[in-house]
Symmetry: C2
Amino acid sequence: MNKYNVARQSVLEAGSLIKNMMQEDIQVDIKSSASDFVTNVDKQVEKFLVDTINNSFPNQNYLTEENTRDFIGLENLWIIDPIDGTTNFVYKKRDFCISLAYYEKGMPVFGLVYDVMNNELFEAKTGNGAFLNGEKLALLDQKRPLSESVISGDVYRPNFFKATPSEIKRQIIAHRFLGSGALEICHVAANMSQAYVFNSLKVWDCAAAVIILTEVGGTFLMGTQVNQLVFDQQGHLFIGAANSLIMKGIETWL
Amino acid sequence: MNKYNVARQSVLEAGSLIKNMMQEDIQVDIKSSASDFVTNVDKQVEKFLVDTINNSFPNQNYLTEENTRDFIGLENLWIIDPIDGTTNFVYKKRDFCISLAYYEKGMPVFGLVYDVMNNELFEAKTGNGAFLNGEKLALLDQKRPLSESVISGDVYRPNFFKATPSEIKRQIIAHRFLGSGALEICHVAANMSQAYVFNSLKVWDCAAAVIILTEVGGTFLMGTQVNQLVFDQQGHLFIGAANSLIMKGIETWL
């Protein structure tokens, strides 16, 4: 099998693994704060994905949330979040996903985002469009204004935007917050909302989803760079939008 | 058939009606503001529900979002929201529901909340527990503190709470916002979050869901009254919580 097929099959198998592990007790560890979790499931699922890829393709690089392997370099780079939306996984038992992306020398090759409990697989290969459960996603309207947009993410997070909640509310239709960056970016790609914003997103939260988003005409800002990932382990300002008109509107809030 | 069975069957049929109408164009009318929609689907689905109930049980009272019948009195009162989460319906094509409740002389008899696209039916008869797709929901933990809670709703809405977003964030695990009050209250009942807050909820948004919530031990505040609906057409402060400990914590934000 080629890399794409191995990736796709292992993501689906990891979804089954998660569902099976949910029948047992989930052990929660605290990371940096009480709302920053990691579970035994995150760790085991990441190990399963890395081992499966490594068995088929040795000598790859990895950049992963649970740091199963050290991050060495950009050649043949697999970027993995075994569970994006761990709070949702622990508390809500839905609205979390597996995110897996493959980049070569910093350039996107393919991305997979699997909403396990909804059984929705978002996938894209660079240059071939994006798909949801095998159906091609439509290109996003490039003329849609901010005033016709639903914005998801932690919109009113303290010290994120200089614009006040009142100022932001006046400019948009509504805000929503699902709590999984990868899924919320994919939902922009699927035209369920028009932008996703977060003050501190990490590369494994968005590496796969931005491939899906840009394949349908969307755009993103990470840190200070447009349509370019930051390949490190830090959190960065992130805005993903259906078009640059909406992006520019959101940037005025900063 | 008795009232419960007629209600349950007509809610499921209304779900099919909505799915069929989604294949056609949805016409959007603006109500009080650009983010306050009503569609042809809301109106037709409400008329279907009222007509179906009226055919089996004449001389009932109705209190409904689209005002198909005038609200006269509390005897044999059906409280209906044909689509709760109209913005989600129009923009996201999911995460909306049908809410139907039946009250006699102001006392709850039964409530049904149907998440159409997820095919999840929440239902409760007073005194008989609450069910999700036929499975009985567990009683909620009455000792769970606010610090172990996910809060949904428009938590940071301007001029809603006196507490700042920073103060609120420190006291909880996370906040989420789905955009359908009825569904978000049912999700508290199903232990997917621990409270739902909104500054201005109307009785048709919560009449069915609060029956489901209180059947599993939850509690709610509407306006100034605990566990008591306000039967009018105005918006009221609403807090629904898994227990009174969490409720009291949220009340300190007011």
